[in-house]
Symmetry: C2
Subunit: 290 residues, 2 copies
């Protein structure tokens, strides 16, 4: 069944359009916003889809306003799809008490805890949103939803690695800026996973990129690109790229490229500096030879 989707803004950008939408999410039980950048090529045919998962406290607008990703997406002919980071407006007690838990902090998982039962951003991102894009105008005629890749930042970099490694036939390439690499072992992750998933740490592993690499069984291996800034204040405690690097070494996963960018921090200035590399990395997979 096609869900009603309402366009709430449209801005021409690099000869294409940023279009923001509101729809009722069945999975989350609330209204959600998301933004799609349609490159010029989407006016004359279907273009591949690159999902961008945002970090803590963000909604769908931060990336759209600050990353500058649309320039390379326009050049390469790829649509960008930016969802929000959690359910909103449900009025769950304490949902807005922390910036790293609840509203704006969905961690791209399916909660198992009664109180947070609406926090099912994994299903929203992997199932509901692609299904909506596949079946609803104007997406169905302009987006090739079966040609998809995923990237993200921080909590959303964790999300990109998790949804990509769990669905290697759905996401053809995976990249991340400053991802939370090993959430079962860092303060943000432990707080979120305890709250959303309870105390059984075995259950946490399905949402941990390092653990997913260790249990990875294919059948295909999406290429991975990860950039982290050496001046990122969250580097050692929260992000732990060395844990991901170790898991890649240990498992021999390839192709995987991890880069340290000297002097860069956790901000969108870091993202915009390297976003062209990421767009081109995904475009080379999604549109080979083009």
């Amino acid at each position: 069944m096609a869900t009603a989707v309402e366009e709430i803004s449209a801005n021409r950008h690099y000869n294409g359009y940023n279009r923001r939408y509101k729809h009722r999410s069945t999975v989350l039980g609330c209204d959600m916003t998301f933004t799609v950048y349609f490159p010029p090529a989407a006016e004359t045919g279907k273009v591949p889809v690159l999902y961008y998962l945002s970090g803590l406290t963000c909604n769908d607008e931060n990336f759209i306003q600050k990353s500058g990703a649309q320039r390379a997406a326009a050049t390469r002919g790829i649509a960008l799809v930016a969802p929000d980071t959690s359910p909103r407006g449900l009025g769950v007690e304490g949902e807005a008490d922390s910036w790293d838990f609840g509203v704006g902090a969905g961690f791209y998982l399916n909660s198992t805890q009664e109180k947070w039962r609406a926090w099912r951003m994994y299903d929203y991102v992997v199932e509901e949103l692609p299904s909506l894009l596949r079946s609803t105008a104007p997406f169905a005629t302009s987006l090739d939803v079966d040609q998809a890749s995923v990237f993200g930042h921080s909590m959303g970099g964790h999300g990109a690695l998790v949804v990509g490694l769990r669905n290697p036939q759905t996401y053809r390439s995976i990249s991340a800026f400053a991802p939370v690499c090993h959430p079962i072992n860092c303060p943000w992750g432990v707080k979120a996973f305890t709250g959303y998933l309870g105390e059984d740490r075995e259950l946490w592993k399905q949402y941990d990129a390092c653990e997913l690499l260790r249990s990875f069984s294919g059948p295909v291996r999406p290429p991975i690109l990860v950039d982290t800034g050496s001046a990122d204040k969250f580097l050692q405690v929260q992000l732990q790229p060395q844990a991901l690097e170790a898991a890649i070494q240990e498992t021999g996963y390839s192709p995987a490229t991890m880069r340290t960018q000297e002097g860069y921090d956790h901000s969108y200035f870091f993202i915009s500096t390297f976003v062209d590399d990421h767009i081109n990395f995904h475009a080379d997979v999604l549109l080979p030879g083009k």
Copy 2:
């Protein structure tokens, strides 16, 4: 006398740095912030300066976070200097009652009215800020303040045209996105000029780009580039590019290029789409043959 300048943030960006500063403005009588983007070339020598004047409601951060101008500025080796749009924190009665007058709405003029005597953004931008950059570390050793150009958006596009046309030997090129072209004849301008300058409309002409073109006497003519979006909701009532076009035709001012960008609106999506053109336009003047 060198003013004390405090760096309040630094973010690596395109191999250079966005650095935000706070200082005490003598001209305005309050603390002011501004941001400088230092391109990589500023680490090894002095680079030219391109001032960016922002629009209504903005401070120095909007342009820095959303325009993507740093990419081309890094490539061409030009520093970007983004001041704030008005005095702040003075507690003048009613200063924050309107989004188009008072705080965030300095209109780059010197007020003659007692109540708004602190609103002297013309002198701040043309005199105090360049003087500070010329005499204070780290600017004095990395910026060639005598090689300067100016651009801006909306109210700041008006500002760029006004400061540029009044000081053609100081600003070597002038450009604007969606400028308020004829403020003495549009609602934003009439409200602001009445409030800041009083009822004598003769005095208003010194801050109106169309009037300044008509009275322009050189001795040199900075090249002008203006982009306006055809879907800009402020186009006909507030911006009036046709008035500027008419003044250019009438006076034969050249070189001047006015472009209409089909389907673009008033947002930073419009600016970021065409910002490379503007950076290159200024760089070709500031760094000929480079």
